[in-house]
Amino acid sequence: MNQRDVSPDATLVTRLLQKDVSSFEQLYDRHSRIVYALVLRILQQASTAEEVVQDVFLQLWRNAAHYDPSRGPFVPWLLTLARNRALDHLRLKSERQRRREDQAEELPPVASAPDYEKALDEKRRAERVRALMTSLAPQQKRAIELAYFEGLSHSEIAAALKEPLGTVKSWIRNGLLRLKEGLQATT
């Protein structure tokens, strides 16, 4: 590990490599709420969400070495892992063949934090994300939510919303760029 990320999370994950139960418990206490909220939003069923969250944290416990703190912050990595697991569950349940960018990988790829990542703490950044997304047109916000929480592709979203494919592509791209600009503006 280099000196780029010496956050408490990075330190705790490093201790997981020595099978330090206390570090695992601290990581669970710090992040289980957002992980559970995300998985529950995707799966819409508490018992299944609990199963997936348990799977996510056991994956973290058993494969902590797969996370490299020098290549990106921990929370986005964990959230990507949780989203992938939940969408896999959703996809297996419905037996739909969707393709996602990271679907074939056992663990998530790198998510590099931009310079403005540290401008806000997690709570304020969450509030800012909600505010920025609420400022989008309802259909535009819905298109992004269908992609993120339900794993739908451009064409599937266009069909679900009965909108032209090009419109959906623009909504998603411009919506995410607006989110990026909005978060950048907090620096």
Partner: protein, 264 residues
């Protein structure tokens, strides 16, 4: 930063996983050429996409989830380290597929993209098979352990009498090393969103019941519950009890026990 113009519009949707197969294959073929600008932008876009998790309504996981996780983690921490599986365990055809992708990428970016999609599909199927095999192995291990507890003469038999005269009698067997196995037939199904939860009642005066595993009987009314790591030794436990609790279990009993059996 210079970003290849023809792919500029795909990066955000790629990180979101929203590209259709054709766009995705084309973009991945471009990434396979080693475009560091696009690769870097994708990594930042992944971070941005991860922030969408905060759109989920706030929710708190049940305390029992943490309890179950910590029990598993503590058990695994006590076990000897198991070496990570060797990469040679990955099927040869999978590596051959990746190698083929690399060669074809140099020859034709479009062809490489198509092949990569096929490999993704194969990986998906392989991952699903591995998950299923792991689940079966875990189920087999649990079944073996239950059988050992039930048949070992060292196990202590604990009848669990139903508090309702109509309820069937359950039986638990407690083995000091292997754990507790609770069994029963014709067990009534709890109400929707309710589960049965096992409790260990300590002998110590004033001590609170210790929460244990939760489950529901199968559709035929068969109930088999394995507690592989009882938190208290047999000599410190006065009785076992089973209550009906909300899904996810409770930290303290919220209903009158439906079955109770004295230990020793």
């Amino acid at each position: 930063m210079k970003i290849c113009d023809q792919f500029r519009e795909l990066i955000q949707a790629y990180a979101l996983g929203a590209l259709d197969a054709e766009d995705r294959a084309a973009f991945e073929a471009h990434l396979a050429t080693g475009c560091s600008d696009c690769a870097k932008t994708v990594e930042e876009a992944r971070w941005l996409v991860s922030q969408l998790a905060y759109l989920a309504p706030e929710a708190t996981p049940p305390d029992m989830l943490k309890g179950r996780l910590m029990q598993t983690v503590r058990e695994e921490a006590r076990q000897p380290r198991i070496a990570a599986p060797s990469k040679t365990g990955i099927p040869f055809w999978m590596w051959a597929g990746v190698a083929a992708l690399v060669v074809l990428s140099l020859y034709s970016a479009l062809e490489a993209g198509r092949l990569r999609v096929e490999i993704h599909d194969a990986n998906e199927r392989a991952a699903a098979i591995l998950r299923e095999r792991q689940q079966l192995q875990e189920q087999l291990a649990v079944a073996k352990r239950e059988a050992m507890i039930v048949t070992d003469p060292a196990s202590v038999k604990i009848p669990l009498a139903g508090q309702d005269p109509q309820a069937p009698q359950l039986e638990a067997k407690w083995h000091s090393q292997l754990g507790i196995c609770v069994m029963g037939h014709n067990v009534p199904m709890p109400a929707a969103n309710r589960v049965l939860q096992l409790w260990l009642i300590p002998k110590a005066p004033g001590a609170k019941p210790m929460p244990s595993m939760t489950l529901r009987p199968d559709p035929d009314g068969k109930l088999v519950l394995l507690v592989s790591n009882p938190p208290e030794s047999m000599s410190e436990t006065k009785a076992l009890a089973i209550t009906e609790e909300p899904e996810g279990g409770s930290l303290q009993p919220t209903t009158t026990p439906r079955w109770v059996g004295g230990v020793g």
